[in-house]
């Protein structure tokens, strides 16, 4: 019976014999669904020039992913759709009508340098999009000027990026923008990073389908509010209200889509909340005190780097030996 098993030939594997239907591709597709309201709104608002950048970024990301896979032979493959999401996220951050070479270089920095060189999805220490965009922001700051890119846009609002106006005019900048305009995305920004309402919709969708945990966006919200309040108290001339910081620029994109990226964020509830808070706080501080408000993307990377440390605040396992005489 044991040497030559009689009977049927059976498949043997370790338990569990049931598996959830989730997969890596499913995760990414859900993220794409969540990003689609912002992408569609952007194409509606800015037309062809936004569509061009989005299509170019996604196409270049996938192509670079496939090419890099050929060379590096990583376990990470383009079929997990992660390069599509990365390309789309990068495109949303770029200005309308960004030159093609900027988009392609950004995709290279994101997908090849940010993701592939670290071993693919799961290996990178900081969000590839944050890395790629930060390198663009440092290398070609003038090319990321959103005001110049929206010259033809006939909007009844101040045609300067809110966070830039905040730098020059301090708290007085807040009066230059209607809050409703900011919420609806009628503000100078990139292709999709300032479409607050649509990004919020996507964020809620991600929460609903449990792709992200509420602790990170909630922590980021708390961090932004805390940072704004602290700045207001410390330097009233520079401090805008928390609501302004929440609605201006890419705060919502950062809180819902960049900080929540699974590989670079902690996994335990409390660490996630602290991490979100750290990200939000740094975002406001960098925005207010740095020379270039674009550098707020560094908040994401700094928080990312703190994530493994924060995860050491894990809860104690249940069911361990306790001192019997205690």
């Amino acid at each position: 019976m044991n040497e030559t098993p009689a009977g049927a030939r059976l498949n043997v594997a370790e338990a569990p014999h049931w598996r959830d239907a989730s997969s890596l591709a499913q995760m990414q597709v859900l993220w794409l669904v969540a990003l689609s309201p912002a992408a569609i709104a952007s194409v509606t608002l800015f037309g062809q020039s936004a569509l061009r950048v989005i299509a170019l970024a996604v196409g270049a990301s996938v192509a670079l992913d496939v090419a890099a896979n050929r060379v590096l032979g990583a376990k990470d493959s383009a079929t997990n759709w992660s390069s599509v999401t990365l390309g789309l996220l990068l495109a949303l951050l770029l200005p309308v009508g960004a030159p093609w070479w900027l988009v392609v270089v950004g995709c290279f920095l994101t997908v090849v340098v940010g993701k592939k060189l670290y071993g693919g999805w799961g290996g990178y220490p900081v969000h590839p999009v944050a890395l790629g965009y930060a390198m663009l922001a440092v290398s070609w700051p003038e090319r990321l000027d959103r005001t110049a890119s929206l010259v033809g846009q006939a909007w009844d609002t101040t045609m300067i990026e809110p966070v830039r106006l905040l730098k020059t005019q301090g708290a007085a900048a807040e009066a230059a923008y209607a809050k409703v305009d900011l919420l609806l995305g009628i503000q100078v920004g990139g292709i999709g990073n300032a479409l607050v309402l649509w990004l919020l919709l996507g964020g809620f969708f991600l929460l609903l389908v449990r792709q992200i945990s509420w602790q990170i966006p909630a922590g980021a919200l708390a961090g932004v509010v805390l940072g704004a309040v602290v700045v207001r108290l410390a330097a009233p001339a520079m401090g805008a209200t928390p609501l302004f910081h929440l609605l201006a620029g890419s705060t919502v994109l950062t809180g819902c889509f960049l900080l929540t990226e699974v590989t670079t964020s902690p996994v335990n509830p409390w660490p996630m909340a602290i991490y979100g808070m750290l990200g939000g706080l740094l975002l406001v501080l960098i925005r207010v005190f740095s020379t270039n408000p674009e550098e707020a993307i560094f908040a994401v990377m700094l928080a990312n780097l703190a994530a493994p440390l924060l995860d050491r605040l894990a809860p104690r396992a249940r069911g361990l030996e306790v001192a019997r005489d205690a």
Partner: protein, 429 residues
């Protein structure tokens, strides 16, 4: 890719099984049974028979040092004693009995064969003689034979009216079918541990019914139909308020856990009736609803399935136990033992793909873990051969419930990795 139930927490996505078919189908004796002389754990039995002997049903065929007994589950002739592989161990001596016309032993004769006298034998000795190993243990890991002649100090006796696996409903069907017998016999069991508090755990829909039948004698607890909440260890710790470490047996903490089947067997044993027929729930592809059957111990999975017109060869995987914690069998000739409660079948097209992609650190495993292990780190440490580091994350607390691997989007063999840390981590550290 399934899009439904995405809004549920990952752990709540473990499918609920449909209600079991009511009642228990009694299977006839097969032509041949293979009775392993071992229980999972350390207990080994010395054979009392040899090839060619005539044996009666209920006749002791194996005996351990402490007087625990294995019985012939059918009458006939001993064909041979050979090594078999069971669901959980291999190269176990087993007695093969071919069915024949031999009169059954009476309860009194069973006791005499074990050196006891009917009427004067203590209840504990009678239980041992009838194949019910100390009721204050639970099957599996907790099994050891070092129990004293008397019951240890038991403060909580938990009678489990269901099994943690979603597809196993034998315990529940037994409770429904034998509720009066259990209620009337319970005092004989509980006065062995007079200071113990008696609990009966049932699935929540049965709570009102159980309360009506068992009344004030026991505390009835309704358990929701959620796999994570069904898991016995954390649930019983919560129920009794005693933090029982994962590495300790319930009995060391004054808790006795007794599924209905073993409670009923213990009551039967007090009357000299042996535990030779076992219920087992059949579930999976060919069964629209789980079906509970009762068959003699030592019947093979093939014979059980054949009785329902099912051929294992048509299926991809045959699992002893349930879908979350069961052991996949490499042959359907594996015999049924006292501690296997279910057979679960997967079709060839249902086999979950083990693609084992790189971890993306999503943390679903860690958040799903009922033992709150840092599974995402533990598994990667094991994967990269850092068993010593893996052990800092307490793999010994793992319940092996399978939830981490169930929710993993990268389809990693997480339970296996944690088990590896558990088994070899101490060596490497």
């Amino acid at each position: 890719m399934t899009w439904s139930s995405l809004w549920k927490t990952p752990a709540a996505r473990v499918p609920r099984c449909p209600e079991g078919t009511p009642g228990i189908v009694e299977l006839p004796d097969p032509d041949e049974v293979v009775i392993p002389l071992e229980y999972p754990g350390q207990i080994l039995f010395r054979p009392l028979v040899q090839a060619g002997d005539q044996v009666a049903r209920y006749q002791p065929i194996g005996r351990s040092e402490r007087g625990n007994v294995v019985h012939a589950s059918i009458g006939g002739r001993v064909q041979e004693i050979r090594a078999v592989w069971t669901a959980r161990s291999f190269h176990v001596p087993a007695v093969v009995i071919r069915r024949g016309a031999v009169a059954d032993l009476t309860p009194a004769e069973v006791l005499v064969r074990c050196g006891l006298e009917s009427g004067t034998a203590s209840r504990i000795d009678a239980m041992r003689a009838c194949g019910v190993i100390s009721p204050w243990t639970t099957p599996g890991r907790n099994h050891c034979e070092s129990d004293p002649g008397e019951f240890p100090d038991v403060r909580h006796l938990v009678i489990e009216g269901f099994h943690e696996e979603p597809t196993i409903c034998g315990f529940e069907q037994l409770l429904l079918a034998n509720a009066e017998a259990l209620r009337d016999g319970l005092p004989r069991l509980t006065d062995l541990a007079p200071q113990a508090r008696i609990w009966l755990t049932v699935r929540r829909p049965l709570k009102a019914w159980a309360h009506k039948v068992f009344g004030a004698a026991v505390t009835v607890v309704g358990v929701p139909d959620d796999y994570r909440r069904r898991l016995a260890r954390p649930r019983i710790s919560r129920l009794t308020g005693i933090p029982i470490p994962r590495t300790a047996a319930y009995r060391q903490h004054g808790v006795a856990v007794l599924p209905t089947e073993f409670a009923l067997a213990a009551l039967d044993a007090m009357h000299g009736r042996c535990f030779v027929r076992k219920t087992v729930t059949l579930a999976g592809r060919p069964f629209a609803r789980p079906l509970t059957v009762r068959a003699p111990l030592g019947i093979t999975v093939r014979q059980i399935l054949a009785s329902q017109g099912v051929d294992a060869a048509q299926f991809g995987r045959v699992v002893m136990g349930g879908p979350m914690m069961g052991h996949a069998l490499y042959t359907d000739e594996t015999p049924l033992s006292k501690f296997q409660h279910g057979v679960f079948l997967l079709g060839r097209d249902e086999l979950p793909a083990e693609v084992n992609l790189a971890c993306v650190n999503c943390g679903r495993c860690t958040r799903a873990c009922p033992a709150r292990l840092q599974v995402h780190l533990l598994a990667r440490y094991v994967e990269y051969d850092q068993l010593g580091d893996a052990c800092r994350f307490h793999p010994e607390a793992c319940l092996e419930c399978g939830l981490c691997a169930f929710v993993c989007p990268a389809r990693r063999p997480l339970v296996q990795l944690v088990k590896m840390a558990k088994r070899y981590g101490g060596v490497a550290a």
